[in-house]
């Protein structure tokens, strides 16, 4: 565990394992902890760089405007600071939004790209969903049961939420405990706006790396197909040359929880090719 100064902000990072470099980009709520189950497996094959992006976890959380560009530029700065010229990139949920932004902005830095549950552009339904997140967070706080309940309805499938081991109040508690220490209200609100506003549809042709697009068949947040005004996983597949679309049958948005083993195996296979 260490920190390095990137664009004026102390960024927390950790490198595990050895091999070709892989950087993992956290989502809107849990920072690098979202990859806690994935990193040990990937580290058997790769040199895995986990970090908390600006505003999250153990990195600085300055009061400022946060955008996809902020986080994409910080990732380049982090790679520069660590002397990593080119790396595999794995981003899930908002980390996937940042990953696709990064890959369109700095394609020469990306070896192979894995996007897990994201969108190139949000449709109006997504906008409504993120407006609800903002409304609940503003009223109840990012460390509340109320926000954790709302996040669970978007993160998981019905069958996962009904499972005795992982579901019910266990899921809500797990979500709250992942969010509370890692997110701040002002950053979370900006993250929601960033996902509402992002639009990389016109830049997708700039992605030059082999790309794997992963999505759960039951994902209602970043579904296979957004509405006509959005650009979801299938749209990205159709607009990123040579990309592969991998659909996890029965899973919701949270592939790394619901289909952890299959997802990690697929990521390792793809990055090893």
């Amino acid at each position: 565990m260490s920190k390095v100064n990137v664009n004026g902000c102390d960024i927390w990072y950790e490198i595990s394992g050895s091999g070709a470099p892989v950087v993992q980009i956290g989502g809107a709520v849990s920072g690098h902890e979202g990859y806690a189950l994935v990193t040990p497996e990937l580290a058997k094959h790769f040199s895995v760089l986990d970090y908390d992006h600006r505003g999250y976890g153990m990195s600085d959380r300055p009061k400022q405007k946060y955008t996809m560009d902020t986080w994409a530029d910080d990732l380049r700065g982090l790679l520069d600071a660590l002397g990593i010229e080119r790396t595999h990139v794995h981003g899930g949920s908002m980390g996937g939004y940042i990953a696709i932004k990064f890959a369109t902005k700095f394609p020469e830095r990306v070896d192979r790209l894995v996007i897990n549950g994201a969108a190139a552009k949000s449709d109006f339904t997504c906008r409504c969903q993120f407006e609800v997140w903002k409304a609940v967070a503003l009223k109840y706080g990012v460390d509340s049961d109320e926000l954790a309940q709302e996040l669970c309805t978007k993160a998981f499938s019905r069958s996962w939420l009904d499972s005795p081991e992982t579901g019910g109040e266990n899921a809500v508690r797990w979500m709250r405990e992942a969010t509370a220490p890692n997110a701040s209200l002002h950053v979370f609100l900006d993250a929601c706006d960033a996902m509402i506003e992002t639009d990389v549809t016109s830049q997708l042709s700039r992605v030059s790396s082999p790309t794997l697009l992963m999505v759960g068949s039951e994902d209602v947040l970043t579904p296979i197909d957004q509405g006509p005004e959005g650009a979801g996983m299938r749209y990205m597949h159709e607009h990123i040359k040579g990309s592969e679309l991998w659909i996890a049958d029965g899973s919701g948005h949270g592939l790394l929880a619901e289909k952890a083993r299959e997802t990690v195996e697929k990521v390792i296979d793809f990055l090893s090719a």
């Binding site: 969903q129 009223k139 309940q149 998981f156 019905r158 899921a171």
Partner: protein, 287 residues
């Protein structure tokens, strides 16, 4: 437009068209306005009874505890007051859960039954969804954009919300309609009723011909709930004593299938209820 006293409260109702009676049972948010686009088409075939349940719209809204029993008893009281012995019943969203409850409690009053976007028992996902409605109604009010964002994203298909009747027009329209028709206290009771509902054991008491309808993209009341719930498919499979039963999936439609795909949605309902009417007419002629 008229009102009639039912169980001590004034209930707003409206009769439109001619034919066998068809009662529209409203959902949790916009009372009889939810059928505004449907009633004129239905009135060409049936005598349509629209009403606002106790606590909603233009009916009285006393401070009290609201449950499916309260509303089902009011429904039978309304039919009694209007001298209606038996009626087709079409319930959408909470109106379908209420319709199922009513049909199990008063089976002899039902002619043909349509349950659209129906839940017989909520799984944990549904319970959370209704909890969020309660949080938003309590914090921001029933007429707020905040609540309407949640209702819209869970009720309409992504295609509809991106389309000409979607976007902020849909959000603002739903916010205004919700604010007009229901207060937070009543909506919270309605959400609790939906969280706690379990009519799975009562489905066998439903004897009327029944049509179960669900949108193929419904994420609020999908055909299949999680293992702890019971959605439309479960209901269809467990209507063991219905005179006959049918299951219709509305294409390209979310929970609000009457708005998402009005053509198919109205067609299956009219077609089903007309067949029920014709069967009973010919049975009557034979008898």
């Amino acid at each position: 437009m008229a009102k009639v006293a039912v169980n001590g409260v004034q209930i707003f109702y409206q009769l439109t068209g001619e034919g066998d009676y068809l009662m529209h049972v409203p959902g949790a948010v916009v009372a009889h306005e939810g059928y505004a686009a449907v009633t004129p088409g239905m009135a060409r075939h049936f005598k349509v009874l629209d009403f606002d349940p106790r606590g909603y719209g233009e009916s009285d809204r006393p401070k009290q505890r609201y449950t499916f029993d309260v509303w089902a008893d009011d429904m039978v009281g309304l039919l009694d007051a209007l001298g209606i012995d038996r009626t087709h019943v079409h319930g959408g969203s909470m109106g379908s859960s209420l319709g199922a409850h009513f049909a199990a409690k008063y089976p002899s009053r039902i002619h043909g039954l349509v349950l659209s976007g129906c839940t017989a028992k909520s799984d944990f996902m549904s319970k959370l969804q209704f909890q969020i409605w309660k949080h938003l109604a309590n914090s921001y009010g029933t007429g707020s954009l905040e609540l309407a964002y949640a209702l819209c994203s869970e009720s309409f298909s992504r295609r509809f919300l991106d389309g000409p009747n979607g976007k902020m027009d849909a959000v603002r329209g739903l916010a205004a309609a919700a604010g007009r028709n229901v207060d937070a206290d009543v909506l919270c009771d309605a959400c609790d009723a939906l969280i706690d509902i379990d009519v799975t054991a009562e489905l066998a008491k439903i004897t009327a011909p029944t049509l179960v309808v669900v949108g193929d993209g419904d994420i609020l009341t999908p055909a299949d709930q999680g293992p702890s719930g019971a959605g439309g498919r479960y209901i269809y499979e467990h209507l063991v004593n219905a005179e006959f039963k049918e299951f219709a999936v509305i294409e390209n439609a979310g929970h609000a299938n009457l708005m998402d795909n009005p053509d198919q949605s109205n067609r299956v309902v009219i077609d089903f209820l007309k067949r029920v009417s014709e069967r009973s007419a010919s049975a009557h002629a034979r008898g």
